[in-house]
């Protein structure tokens, strides 16, 4: 009886630990070799044939096709520079410049990867659509209500993800965070 109870206990512990760790790894992004710059994180190695098992499992679970490294690099932001989760009811300002790339696109998604409906049908910006300051830097306001300048509507949803994809860029597996790879700052301007 004691043996049965003991092995049952061990098996339950194994199931909880094993499946719990798998769930956490898949929802938090446990792929190897993250490249974090400010609020932005990319996994350049996930877009290569050397993608590790964690990256492969995450890709399969979400059902997306990763951006191949020969194509570009995708940077994700889920929180602002102070570590606060991005909230669609707040005005968030992206300001600065991006690393050198032929094109880039910025897109706003729901956490599950769907686009957010809005009256403008504006789901993001490309590097050619944006209005810039004289020094080449730009400012994008991610907000629920219309703003002057580059306005990216959030639709007032609670949580969202920003994806900045750099196409045809030198940023890759060997890139280290530094002055050559500046990413836009993410700051909350106001919150209701």
């Amino acid at each position: 009886m004691r043996l049965l109870l003991g092995s049952l206990f061990a098996l339950v512990v194994a199931a909880v630990v094993g499946l719990g760790a798998t769930y956490l790894a898949l929802t938090r992004g446990a792929a190897f070799g993250p490249l974090t710059i400010g609020s932005w994180t990319a996994w350049p190695k996930t877009g290569t044939a050397d993608a590790d098992p964690y990256a492969q499992a995450e890709i399969a679970r979400i059902g997306r096709l990763p951006t191949a490294l020969g194509d570009g690099v995708a940077f994700t932001a889920t929180s602002d520079d102070n570590g606060r989760r991005l909230d669609g009811r707040c005005d968030v300002v992206l300001s600065g410049v991006t690393p050198a790339a032929r094109f880039w696109t910025l897109t706003l998604y729901r956490p599950d990867g769907e686009l957010v409906a809005n009256s403008l049908s504006r789901f993001g910006f490309t590097s050619q659509e944006i209005t810039r300051f004289a020094d080449g830097s730009f400012q994008i306001v991610v907000a629920p209500r219309a703003n002057p300048g580059n306005w990216l509507p959030t639709g007032g949803i609670e949580r969202y993800i920003l994806l900045l994809r750099l196409y045809d860029t030198a940023v890759g597996v060997s890139t280290k965070a530094g002055r050559e790879v500046p990413m836009p700052a993410v700051n909350v301007r106001s919150c209701p």
């Binding site: 492969q56 997306r64 191949a68 020969g70 599950d112 993001g124 050619q128």
Partner: protein, 187 residues
């Protein structure tokens, strides 16, 4: 007391094995991964245009709405594949994925350096079986080796502004992905 602690430790170790096993098995058993989703709508060895993603419907999550895209779901068991993609004015890329959605190769219009991106896709075995002389005449053609028999080719063209989406879509529409035997056969 010690007995339970040992059981806890043993359970945790077993849990580590369960964790690694589930992570490794997951891509093989997933039914909603990109390949399985596209397998329903995309025929084998042909280019299928994908709808631009919208909030109501998207072929798969996290697609870039600034791109016109198409996929070619390939099966190399009958022989190599020939792929040709005309280049759009802005930016065009071709990415290759295995059956389990691992990106093993990608090329863009600038790297290809021509008006049309032309590639031969084959398995390493088929590459080895190619006659030597043919390899030389094919030197100006790019040969890509697929690690798996089946997989996906994603063809994407950027529309830098919404008004240019039709240009990008027209470029993609002219892309071709056919079995090499069929391509050589006279019509």
């Amino acid at each position: 007391m010690i007995r339970w602690l040992l059981l806890l430790l043993g359970g945790a170790l077993l849990g580590g094995i369960v964790h690694l096993a589930t992570i490794i098995i997951l891509p093989r058993t997933a039914t909603q991964d990109a390949y399985s989703r596209l397998a329903r709508s995309a025929p084998v060895n042909a280019v299928t245009a994908l709808a631009t993603p919208s909030p109501a419907a998207a072929p798969m999550p996290f697609m870039d709405p600034a791109f016109a895209s198409a996929v070619c779901r390939y099966d190399l068991s009958q022989g190599p594949l020939k792929l040709s993609v005309p280049v759009s004015p802005a930016y065009t890329s071709v990415s290759f994925y295995t059956r389990y959605d691992v990106a093993y190769y990608a090329i863009n219009d600038r790297a290809a350096g021509r008006r049309v991106i032309e590639l031969d896709l084959m398995t390493p075995d088929q590459h080895n079986q190619m006659p030597e002389d043919e390899d030389i005449t094919a030197a100006d053609r790019l040969i890509v080796e697929s690690p798996t028999l089946t997989g996906l080719i994603a063809i994407r063209a950027l529309a830098p502004e919404p008004g240019l989406m039709s240009v990008a879509q027209n470029t993609i529409a002219a892309a071709k992905c056919v079995r090499a035997d069929d391509a050589n056969r006279p019509n």
